[in-house]
Symmetry: D2
C-alpha cells in the first residue's frame, strides 16, 4: 500500500535548546520510503542518526537562540506488512531460545512496570491457550476495560496508573499492552506510526508482541486499520520512541499530522474473530 | 456468643516515646465487654480515650526512658451481631439522605484512593443490581483476584497498589473493599477485630459498608466466620484504626493474639449464596 | 476586619446527581458571619449540615434531572484572628497530652502521606529548635523549593508527588505543609478560605499546625496576607474540605470567587523574620 | 590491580524455568579476565550471550524439572581503571554532539524517572558550575540525605520512591544518582560489580556519568574504594543489569559473594575534595 504522510510542528524555542525528533518513516524490509522531505524554518543544521537497534530515525538539531521553529516532514511510503495466520500454531519462543537482541523487551521499562503486574496478567490471561490468543485477549481486555479519553493522562502516565485508573490515550493503551505481554514472558515493544483514518489525526501508538519469531502488531484502541500504518519507530516504550525529546526550553505551539492512502483499492484490515489474521511490519 | 480474647505485645523502647494502642474490645450495643484487664510491665501511666466518632478505645502511654515493655490485654466479650437479610430490598441510602457523620466515609483516605478507582469500580460492578449484591460482588472479586500472601505488603501499601499488584494481607483486602465501595458511592469503613479460627492467629481486618441505614460487615479474605469477630475499632482506614501508633523509636519484638469461643454451641457463619444473610456489629 | 466575600459557580448537571458544597464562611469565635445569602437557580432544596468536628458547613443538594445550575454565595464576615507571638516559648504539646480530637491530625491521610516522608522531614527540619521555628522552616522550604504553577497538578496529586515533582498550586503547597508537620509529630490540618488580594481570585488553601495548644495558620504560597483570610473549612486534607464533592455527572462550567476588605484601614500582615508573629483563626 | 572474585548462588527450582544470570566479570579494555570458571550443579546446558550494547555477559540456562541448583562463578581479574582529573575542564558533551549509542542514557527508565525529578534536580544542583562538580554534588547529596538501610526497599523500588522516602541500599543510591544526572541532561547509567571491602559482602551497584566523552564512576554509598571494583555490567538501570532474571518459579536459598585483592600493594582510592580525581572503568 502506498501512503502519503506528513507532519508539521511549530515550536517556540525560548532558550538555547536541543531537539531530537522521531517523526521520519522507518526504512525496513516491509516499508520503503519512496520520497521524503524534511524542512526546518529558519535553517538549522539537522543531523540524522539511529539508535543502537536501528528501529528509529532520529533528527537532532541545536537551536542556539530563541526563535519560532517550523518543522515539516512529508513522505510517500510504500508498506507491505506481512499477513500472519494467528490461528496456526504460532508459539511463544522459549526464553532460552530468544535472540539476545529480543531479551531486553522482556524487562520492565519506564512506562511498562511488568514486574508489578504479573499476578494480574496471570489471573486474567494465564489460562488462555496459545500465545496469539493470549495477546489478542490482552488487546481485547484493554479495549473493553480502558476508556479512550483525550486529555485524561500526560507524558508521565504509566501502565501502573492505567491498570488502576482505566482511562488514557493510544500511548497508554500501547504501554498497557506491552506491560501485560512482558508480565507473561512474551517480549513486547512500543510502536509509533502514522495512521490512516485516525480521528482526530495524530501520531499513533500500538504495540508489537514477539510471537513465533516475528514481531506482530496489535492495536488495543481499534482506531485505525492494522494495514493503515506507516511505521516511525519501535522501542521499549515511549521513552525510546517519543515524537520529540527536548533538552532546553521549548514549547510546541501547533501540530498537524496527516496520513492518506494513495492506492485506490485499499481494503482496511481489522482482526476478525472468525478468521484470525495478524499483521507484521517487521 | 461469648469470646475470650487476648493480645500480648512486647516492645523494645529505644528512646523516649509515646504509644497509642488500639487493642481493646469496643463497647457497643452489639458487644458487651464482660471483663477485661490491661497491664503494662513495667508500670507506665495509661490513659484511655476515644476518637471523635467513638469507634475505638485508644490506650496512650508515654515511656520516658529506654526499656522493654510488655503489654497484655485480656477480655471476655459477649457479642450479639445482628443477622441481616441481604436478599431483601436493602437499598443504598441516597447521599442526600445520609447522616453527616456517614459522609466522610464516602471520601478517599490514605490507603483508600477511591477517587482513582471509580472507572474500574463502575466497569466491574456498575451493572450489578442492588447495593447488597454489589458489595458481595466486590468481596468475591477481591477474594478471587487478590492473592493472600503474608509479607507481600507493608504498612504503606494502599488500595491503589493492590489493584495492580494483586497480593496482600487482610489489611489490604479490607482497604480494597472500602475503596471499591466508596468509588460506587457506598459509604464504607475499615474494621479491626479479634477473629476466631484465624490461622495463624493475629489481629484481623475487614470492611463495613453502609447499606439500608446500617453498617454491614464483609470479609474478602474468608479467613474467619463472620460471627467469630470481636470488634476493636472502625475508621476510615488503617490510619485511623492501627493496632499501634508509635511516636518515637520503638520496635515490636513479639506479638501473640488469641481468640477463643466460650460458648460450646458456636455455629460458624459464612455467606451462603443460596440464602444471603449478612452480619452487623453496629 | 470586615470582608465581603462571594463565589458564583455554574454547573452543568448531566445526570441526576448530588452535590455537597463547602463554600460557606465558617462561624467560629474568631469569625462572625454578619450576613449571608446562598442561592441556587433554578430552585433546588438545600440542606446544610456540618461534619463531626464541626469545622465546615456543607450545603447538600440533589438534582434529579439534567439542568444548568447557578450557585451564588455572598457574605459579609467579620474576622478577628488572634496574633500569636511565635518568638515566645510556644511548645509542641506532647502526644501524651493532646486532646483526643487532635490526634487524628497526626495520622496520614489521602493527600498527606506523612508515613512516607518522615526521614526527609527529620533530615531537613529535625535539627531546628522549637516547634514554631520548625513549622516556619517548613513553610519557607516549600516556598523556596516548590514552583507555583497553575495547571501542573490535579485533584489526585498528593504530597508524595509534590516532594518529588516540586510544582503545584495552593492545595499542593498546603498538603505538603500538613504532611511535613505530621511527619515531625506536629498535628496539622488543611485550611480553605476566601483570600484578599489573591491573584487570580480563587478559593485559597493553607495549613494550620497545632502549637502551644492552638491552631496557627501558615501559608507556604505567600500569595495572600495572613490576616486577609475568611475561613471556610478545615479538615485532614482536601478530601475533607473540597469546595465541591460531586456524586453523579456534573461539570463545572464557570467559577468566580471574590474577597474584598470593607475596613478602610486594613494593614496586610505577613511573617516578618525580625518580629515573628503568627495568626490563629481558631 | 588483580582481584579474585567469586559468587555462589543456590536456587530452588520449583517448576521448569529459565534463568538469565549476570554475574560474569566483564571483558573491557580496562579489565582483563585472567581466568574464570562457571559451574552449575547438576549439569545444565549454559549459553552465554551479550546484550546489544555489549556491556554484560549473560548466562542463560533452562531447567526443565524441579531441582536444587548450585551456581558457582570464580575469576581472577586484572583491572586498570583510568584515573580522571575531575578538576580540569571536563565538559558535558552537548546533546547535539553525543554519539547515538549514548542518547538512550538521557531517557527515563524503569527505576529512574528523570522526567519527574528535573525541577528538584535543577533547584538543588542547577547552580553548580561544571559537570564534574554537579555529579559530585549529586553523589554527596545522596550520601548525606538517603539512609543506607538493609531491607528498607525491594526490587520494585525506584528513584521516585527514594527521593521521598530517603532510605535504601546500593541499588537505590545508584538509581537516584542516575536519575538526577539524566534530569540535568547528563547521560548516566547503572553499574554493577564485585566490590573489595564491601561489608557485608554482596554484589555492589554504583552509577556512571558520561562527562567529557567518557563514563566516570560514582558511588553515592561510599562503601567501597572506587578502585576496588570489578565490573559485571552496565545498563539503563537494574532492569538491564539484574544479577538474575528469572522466568518461572525459582527461589534463591543462599548467596555468597566475595572479592579479594591479590596485589599486596593495593591503595584504596576515594574522592578527595582537595585533589579531585575520578575513576573510569570504560
Amino acid at each position: 500500500m502506498k501512503f502519503q504522510v506528513s507532519s508539521e510542528i511549530d515550536y517556540e524555542v525560548r532558550f538555547p535548546s536541543t531537539l531530537i525528533l522521531n517523526i521520519h518513516a522507518l526504512r525496513t524490509p516491509a516499508q520503503t520510503v519512496l520520497e521524503e522531505t524534511f524542512t526546518v524554518e529558519p535553517y538549522v543544521r539537522i543531523e540524522e542518526f539511529t539508535s543502537v537497534n536501528g528501529e528509529n530515525r532520529f533528527a537532532r538539531m541545536e537551536v542556539t537562540e530563541p526563535m519560532t521553529l517550523r518543522i515539516a516532514y512529508r513522505a510517500t511510503v510504500d508498506t507491505h506488512p506481512k499477513t500472519i495466520d494467528l490461528d496456526q500454531n504460532l508459539e511463544n519462543v522459549p526464553v532460552v531460545q530468544l535472540d539476545g537482541s529480543v531479551i531486553p523487551f522482556l524487562f520492565p521499562s519506564r512506562y511498562c512496570q511488568s514486574d508489578k503486574l504479573y499476578r494480574m496478567a496471570y489471573n486474567q490471561f494465564g489460562k488462555i491457550e496459545g500465545t496469539p490468543s493470549r495477546v489478542l485477549a490482552i488487546a481485547d481486555w484493554i479495549y473493553e476495560n480502558v476508556e479512550y479519553l483525550s486529555g485524561s493522562t500526560n507524558s508521565q502516565t504509566s501502565a501502573y496508573d492505567t491498570i488502576a485508573e482505566r482511562a488514557g490515550v493510544c500511548r497508554d493503551f500501547a504501554h498497557l499492552g506491552v506491560t501485560l505481554c512482558r508480565a507473561l514472558t512474551i517480549p513486547a515493544r512500543y510502536f509509533t506510526g502514522y495512521a490512516y483514518q485516525l480521528t482526530p489525526p495524530d501520531f499513533h501508538a500500538c504495540f508489537e508482541a514477539f510471537i513465533g519469531g516475528q514481531w506482530i502488531l496489535f492495536d488495543a484502541t481499534r482506531l485505525a486499520p492494522l494495514n493503515g500504518l506507516v511505521k516511525i519507530a519501535t522501542g521499549r516504550d515511549a521513552a525510546d520512541a517519543a515524537v520529540a525529546s527536548i533538552f532546553g526550553n521549548v514549547v510546541c505551539t501547533a501540530m498537524k499530522v496527516d496520513c492518506q492512502v494513495v492506492d485506490p483499492d485499499f481494503v482496511p484490515f481489522a482482526y476478525d474473530r472468525a478468521n484470525l489474521k495478524g499483521m507484521s511490519y517487521q
